[in-house]
């Protein structure tokens, strides 16, 4: 017994010692032009992007080019495309103070804490020092900013989210493109009556349904509502909050989403839409290669079109303001930032946009033109053109805004609300409680 106690005491002492590894010293995050010699070495980028996607392929190529002039340099790309697993990895490494030179993160409350501790280089200063800041689309940078306006992440993409629809199915049900968000429930009823699934949604990944909760408040109260809500300064019981809760309940009541959507995945939902079983599908321009080229099912190819997020009566945001994310951003670790990292970033960031635009994707910068693939349908160009006509405000996805615990709870409760398992009142009280309990710790 005595021995056990001794072991416990040793373990506790060691735990204390190890716990100390969470705090580390960081160099000055605003010093973006380190002086000294460029000494090539291997640097790592911890990222959460598709393993064979354009960003990774281009950065690999650019790193190889850079290594030709700088023997000994290499870029080690460590990708974890599955976002929850990635976040776990990132947070564990951050806690152990072992973040690599470059790492991906959204502008989450957790990332903001890292930034406040000076662990990320000031990206605004960095981009300005590289003389590329003005090339970036303001909304691509704004998406990466924290609430206080500070910028610590660099975007590599720019996407626009649309509601894609099947003209033939809408016609069959005798409905037209909704003019207001409030028209959608009635539209769903008509589609259901015609035997058509109104909206295909990937319920398994949870973020697609979470987009819907953001729409009404964005129209009703603008981008400020979520900023206040996440800190507990606004509530779901406020008018904008109540409107979204009621609207989601009515979407559920009208059976807008496919039966059993909560266990259906990304490709299930997309297949339902592209095979002509579902009438609408909410997704971003990253799916242009499958929705606006000849890869699309020839049976539905000519029936597909899209509309942007509808407004509402009394909407405070305009029709050209909707969800336009620039994807997960790349942060630069201030502790390991040196002349080499700076020199490589200068090389890569100036060459990246043209390479990226050549793949048919929207660059986060405006200095290049996206190449439209040879097999594209007219929709491809139409979708890209929307990028040049965006308003100043953008709807932020709530999963990047809320604290992780509240976000997890919201994703769960949303499914129950839409399925009709809980009442709007129950939803409101559960979520307001969750925010009251969890927000103060994160946003103090």
């Amino acid at each position: 017994m005595k021995k056990l106690f001794r072991t416990a005491a040793v373990a506790a002492a060691a735990a204390l010692a190890l716990a100390g590894c969470g705090s580390g010293t960081a160099s000055d995050p605003s010093n973006v032009s380190p002086t000294g010699e460029v000494k090539p070495r291997e640097i790592s980028w911890l990222l959460s992007r598709p393993a064979d996607g354009a960003v990774i392929n281009i950065m690999k190529k650019l790193a190889d080019d850079y290594a030709k002039d700088h023997p000994g340099f290499s870029l080690n790309l460590i990708t974890t495309p599955d976002r929850p697993s990635y976040i776990q990895k990132l947070e564990t490494l951050a806690a152990a103070n072992k973040l690599p030179e470059l790492f991906d993160t959204d502008a989450t409350p957790f990332a903001q804490q890292l930034a406040k501790q000076g662990k990320m280089v000031d990206a605004e200063k960095l981009l300005k020092s590289l003389d590329v800041y003005d090339d970036y689309r303001p909304s691509a940078l704004d998406y990466q900013r924290f609430d206080d306006g500070s910028l610590n992440m660099i975007p590599f993409q720019f996407e626009l989210e649309f509601i894609w629809y099947n003209k033939a199915l809408l016609q069959k049900a005798g409905v037209s493109v909704p003019k207001s968000l409030d028209d959608i429930p009635a539209m769903c009823t008509a589609l259901r009556d015609a035997g058509i699934t109104p909206i295909a949604i990937d319920g398994q990944d949870q973020w697609p349904l979470e987009r819907y909760v953001a729409y009404q408040p964005f129209r009703e109260g603008g981008p400020d509502f979520i900023q206040k809500l996440k800190k507990g300064e606004a509530k779901f019981s406020d008018p904008a909050g109540e409107k979204t809760v009621q609207w989601l309940a009515s979407l559920g009541k009208a059976k807008c989403f496919q039966d059993g959507f909560s266990s259906q995945g990304y490709s299930d939902a997309q297949n339902q839409f592209t095979s002509g079983q579902a009438a609408m599908y909410n997704i971003g321009t990253w799916e242009l290669p499958s929705l606006a080229t000849d890869k699309l099912n020839s049976a539905t190819r000519n029936d597909i079109d899209f509309f942007t997020l509808p407004t509402t009566a009394g909407s405070v945001t305009a029709a050209n303001e909707f969800v336009s994310p620039s994807g997960i951003g790349m942060a630069v670790n201030s502790k390991t930032y040196d002349p080499l990292v700076s020199d490589f970033l200068k090389f890569a960031l100036t060459k990246y946009p043209s390479e990226y635009a050549a793949t048919g994707a929207l660059s986060p910068t405006t200095n290049v033109e996206t190449a439209i693939p040879a097999n594209a349908t007219p929709l491809y160009k139409k979708a890209l053109e929307h990028a040049n006509d965006l308003g100043n405000k953008q709807a932020m996805p709530w999963d990047t805004q809320l604290d992780p615990t509240t976000n997890g709870r919201l994703q769960q409760e949303l499914v129950l609300l839409v399925q009709g398992n809980i009442t709007p009142e129950q939803f409101t009280s559960t979520m307001d409680n969750a925010i009251a309990q969890n927000a103060p710790k994160f946003f103090k």
Partner: protein, 279 residues
């Protein structure tokens, strides 16, 4: 009492595994226990909060209790399917004359399929839009009224996520129980039969008592595996819809790794064991 020399050799042989155990198992447990008295998200300042995390978990956390009872339900369903199913199949096997090996192999097969494949397979089976195997079968046999999205219905989801786990290991326990049943002395059964015992009596008075020790071991094994069930529910529903299929294990995982707010089951970020139960 061992002579001194062999006592030393026992120590020499025991010490390395004990040290390994201490570093890999005991230390992370102690560290987690220690961290559970703090409010800490990994990068914030550690704040000592005493028993607050525990008080909140036991009194104010509705999800904790929900997942606790779900875990019990999950365990019960798994045990019934695994042990009950195994006993039934094993008993039937002993009375079969031909094709035993084939049946055994078929039943054991799911145990060697990867968990991820099983989870995806059952998501398809339970699906309603497009219609999956289960709903199609119900429709064909005239039970169309029972068709439902099994994984989205809060009343059926717990059973639906437990069944694959139960199905998966039935074959394994069937093998163990079958082996035990084979060891029942033939002469005992023969004597009982001569005395006019029915098949049921034969089973309850002779066979089952004889395989009791094996049965207990199997129950312990199945319970242990059932309690740590994580991957299939996590992959199929991620605890949803709502908290309807949230188990203690999946909730623990979420609290520790994705929520990062309370240190109730805080990970030990500096030791490699923190990813011990990632899927």
């Amino acid at each position: 009492m061992l002579p001194n020399r062999s006592r030393l050799s026992v120590l020499v042989f025991l010490l390395p595994p004990l040290l390994l155990y201490g570093v890999a198992v005991l230390f992370p447990i102690m560290q987690s226990l220690f961290l559970s008295f703090f409010s800490w998200n990994g990068i914030s300042d550690m704040e000592f909060v005493g028993l607050t995390n525990y008080v909140r978990m036991l009194t104010a956390d509705d999800v904790f209790w929900r997942s606790f009872f779900n875990a019990l339900g999950y365990l019960a369903i798994c045990l019934v399917l695994q042990l009950g199913g195994a006993l039934l199949v094993a008993s039937l096997l002993t009375s079969m004359r031909r094709g035993r090996e084939l049946i055994k192999t078929l039943y054991l097969l799911p145990a060697v399929i990867s968990t991820v494949a099983i989870a995806f397979l059952f998501v398809r089976i339970y699906s309603i839009e497009p219609v999956g195997l289960l709903n199609q079968l119900l429709h064909w046999i005239g039970l169309g009224a029972l068709e439902r999205p099994w994984l989205s219905d809060i009343n059926s989801v717990l059973t639906a996520v437990s069944a694959p786990e139960g199905w998966r290991f039935t074959g394994l326990y069937m093998l163990i129980i079958y082996a035990a049943l084979l060891s029942v002395p033939q002469e005992l059964e023969e004597a009982a039969r001569l005395d006019g015992a029915s098949r049921w009596q034969l089973f309850t008075k002779i066979r089952f008592p004889h395989i009791m020790p094996v049965w207990i071991t199997t129950t312990i094994m199945a319970t242990t595996y059932g309690l740590r069930g994580f991957d299939i529910p996590y992959l199929m529903t991620n605890g949803g819809p709502g908290q309807s299929s949230e188990l203690l294990t999946t909730y623990m995982y979420k609290t520790a790794f994705t929520a990062q707010t309370s240190a109730t089951q805080a990970p030990s970020p500096c030791s490699s064991s923190s990813s011990a139960w990632s899927p």
